[in-house]
Structure formats: C-alpha cells, structure tokens
Amino acid sequence: MTIALVVQRYGLEINGGAELHCRWVAEHMRTHMPVEVLTSCAYDYITWRNHYPEGEELINGIRVRRFPVSRPRSPEKFGRLQNRILEHEHREQDELAWLEEEGPTSPKLIHFIRKNQAAYDYFIFFSYRYYHSYWGIHAVPAKSILVPTAEHDPVIHLKIFRDLFRMPRAFVYNSEEERVMIQSLSRNEHVPGLVVGVGTEVPSSYAADRFRRKHGVDGPYLIYIGRIDQNKGCPHLFDHFLRFKRETASAVKLVLIGSTVLKIPAHPDVRYLGFLSEEDKFDALSGAELLVMPSFYESLSMVTLEAWALGRPVLANAKCEVLKGQCLRSNGGLYYENYAEFKEALKLLLSSERLRAALGDNGRAYYNANYTWDIVEHKYLKIMNDLGAAR
C-alpha cells in the first residue's frame, strides 16, 4: 500500500498547525508503508509565492514532490472576494473564484494527482479550505481521505465546502467537536470518519530548574505557548491576568513563549521569552503551575496535548468548543468564559496543589489513551484497512 499526503506547504522550517501535523503523520506512517508528500513550492502562506524549487526532494526520509504555484495570492483581491462571499448574496462561481484566490493555486499538482492516481492507494488531503484539497478530492474522490483541520471559521459555511464534505471516502477528524460541526453542516454521516488527532513528541528528559536558571524565572508561573496574536485570545489573557494580579495580589507570573504580533504589556510579572527551542519549551512547560490557553479557535491544540503529556493542568477558554470539550472529556483542565470565571478558576488552581496534580494526572491518562503515536498510527491504519475491506 502506497499513500500520498497532500498539503499546502511542507518543510522543516514550516511550523503551521496543519503542515506540522502532516509532516508528523508522514514521518510516522512511513514505518508502515511507502509515503510520499505532494505539495506546492510555497513557503509564505499569505501570498503562496514560489520559494522551494519544483521537483522532488527527500525530507527526513520522505519523498516530497513540489509543484509550482501558477499565480501568487493578492491579499487585497482576496480580502475583497472574502468580504463579498461572507457578507453578500452570491453564486457558487463566486465561491470558486474565492477558492482560486485562496490558493495555493497549483493546477500542476492536481494534474499530477489525476494522472498518477493508479500509483497510490490513498491520497490524504490536509486542510479542507485550500485549493489542493478541493480540486484534489474532486480529481480522486474514490481514493481520498480528508483531514479537515476545521475551526469555527465563517468560510466553512460556504456551499462548495458543504458539497466537498460529502465526497471523500473517509475523514480523519481532530476532535469530536470538529466531527459534530462538519456533520451538522454537511449531513455527511454516511462518510466514515474517526476522531484521531495527532500525537506529539515528548522528550525523554526535561528539567524545570534548567529553564528557571537559564531564563531567570523564579516563583510560580502560568505559561502560554503559541503565536501571540488577537485570534489566539492573547489581549483577553493579558487583561484578565493583570486584573487578577491587581485584585488578588497573587505572586504568580505569566510566561509567554512564541512569536508575537502584539505589544506585550510592560509588567514585571509578564515575561515574554520569544521563540524557544523544543527542549526549552518542554523545560518551561514542566515547571509551570498550569498552561493557559485563551484561544477562541482551535481544531486540536497540540500544546494542550503536550501539557497533558507532561502532567500539567490546563486553563482554557470555554468559548473554544474544542478546548472545553477536551477539558471535560479528559478531566484534565478547567475553563472560563469571562473574567469572573477566570479569576475563580485560577484562584482555585493556584490554591490547591492536589487539584493541579489530579488534573495533570487525568490529562496524562487521557493523552496516553488517545494521542500517543502508536494509537494515532493504528487509527490511520484502521481507516485504510476498513476502506480496503469495503472495496
């Protein structure tokens, strides 16, 4: 059995959620079967401008075939089209025009899939909203498996996607909430699907003291790991945290790790450390009282799984259904919808070490039961075997 993973971008330098997810799946599935990756030459996800050379290359033992983007995206035109389809009555052609602009527009990639479909048993498409998934699934519906990585994004309501969700042979969902959302939108219950998600690589050793010494962090601290921007709910986190400090005079600090597009509040207890190595990240996470996850839109949240893998509890934004659902299913974290709940939940977590330990243990058990690579690989194999048996 040979499979091809089709994704918008691919490379060791690319850390986007779906792209990293695809790379990890590719690298783990190659132990079971030949795996190839079909992708574009793009690196920049704003314009999809060609960056990598066209052709084949080997990345961590995976054969990667890159196809050029015929037309880079114009952000202005894309913005206009998106406003039109989201705010006005429109036709299906308008949605297709939007998809064309959404990109990465690579007709050569689609042509390759159509022409070489016999060489692969299955094509696993990552991210439903891009050109490669839409036209790729249309080219080989009988061999396609979709990993939608869908969030509560307005474009998911477009008609073209409702139809698309009824086409693949199977789905690989990231969470139960994602499955419910896609099924309620497209009524595609007849298409088989499994909630799989993605595993994570936890280093064999990590040391909180090493992190504290290296970065001069002392005392208890909360940690946020990820891109620091508006969509991730960081402004709310800053407001809530500073207000919590004012009202409770708590000694807790907030450590921020990741690239930022926002101004970080100037406060002695808010420590921004920028982008750190994986080793530093896990050291920092292991020493935190808890991980705080203020994001509004997540289809899985790998960093939440990493916190649970290390036995750390999570305080998540309940407005993100996936995070709330994960906390309830795992009993590994609390959540909040407003400042009052944030304050009560954080006070409770900081005041009870036993509660933090119990939540962390539950999170770790949940991670071990659902998100270790053995389990994830087994689920992918099961999907493909079931499809093979149904033929």
Binding site: N331, G332, E344, A357
Partner: protein, 230 residues
Amino acid sequence: MDSPKPSGATQAASVEIDYDRVNVAEIMARIQKAAAEAPAELSAANEPREAAPSSFSPASASPQTAPPAPPQTDWNSEPQGAKQRIKKIIRKLMRPFFPVIRLLALPIHEELRATIKSLHETNVRLDNLYHLLQRQAEEFDRKLDLGGERMDRGELRLDRLEGILGERLKDLDKSMEYIRLLHNLDHNLVVELTKLKVEADTLKSKVRILEKDQELTRRRERALEEQALK
C-alpha cells in the same frame, strides 16, 4: 499515571473537590456559581454605609421623626387681652378707608375671577380630552381584539405551513437518502469499472499471447511441411 493521586475530599477556595474522582464539569458548575455570586458580594460590600441603619445619621432619623409643624395661625379666632383691644382700635380707625382698600383690591379681584374662568375652561378642555382618550382607548381595545383574531388566524396559517414544511423535510430526507445511495452506487460503479478494466487488460494480454502462439504454430507448420516435402 506517574504520581499517585491523593485521596479524600477537601475544600479549596470554597469549592469542595473529591480528589479521587475529579470531575471538571462539577467543579466548573461550582466555579460558575461562585463567579455569578461574586459581583453581588462586591456591590453589597460597596453599599453597607448607605444601606445600614445608623442612629447617628440625620438621614436615617428623618423618616421616623415627624417634621416640625409650621406655626399654626387661627385667623378667625379673636385676639386675646391687650392685643385684642389694640386690634379693635385699629379696625375702628381704618373703617373709613375700607372702600378705598376695596377699590385698590378690585384689579386683584378681577384677575382672580379671570383666573378662575380660565381654570374652568381648562377643566372643560380636560374633560373633553378625557372623553376623547376614553374613546381612543375603546378603539384601541377593539383593534387589539381584531389583532388577536388576526394573530389566531396567523397561527393557524403557521401550523399549516409547519405541516407543509414537515412534509418537505421528509422529502428532503428521502432525497438525502437517495443521494447517499447514489454516492454508494458511484463508488461501487468505480470499483466495478476498475475491475472490468483490469479484466479487459488481462483478456487483451491473453489474446495477444494466443495470437503469438498461433503465429508460432503456423511457422512450425510451415517448417514441418518443408521437412516433409524434402
């Protein structure tokens, strides 16, 4: 799990937790309750000085103590003693001037009469307006009744539409079922066509092999003929 769980139930930050079976939903319900109560506590904390009764506060005393009564003057009662006598003397002295005083008071009297007349007219207008208001209220009640009837009729229509919609939804479910079946059929057709294609290719290969065999046989036949005729 690496670390052992502590056992037993304790109370942390006013939320009771069973550490043997931590249930996030239950904890969150209590946190949400505590969070909902927090603003009330906060406002109550800000208010006690205004709300709590205080024996030193003049504001608190005023509702319970009657305000001091204005000085009562009985204008009809007769003045007593020396005061009474002086008053009589003044009246006697002023009596010749009473017509002049009345004359001076005439414009005020006229003004008073005009005011009374104006007040009467205003009362009449108010009565008219009151009757008008009553008529309009009756009209409004009538229209309200009519509106109610229309609403009833609208509800009936909505019920009918709901019935029709239910039927349409059933049709839609049927259509979705057909689409699902067609989808399966498509898949099956693709599979069958693929199999047929493979079979056709195999048959073609077999035909080619047979043709080659036949050609070989022909050549052998010719060779044998040549050998036999030598």
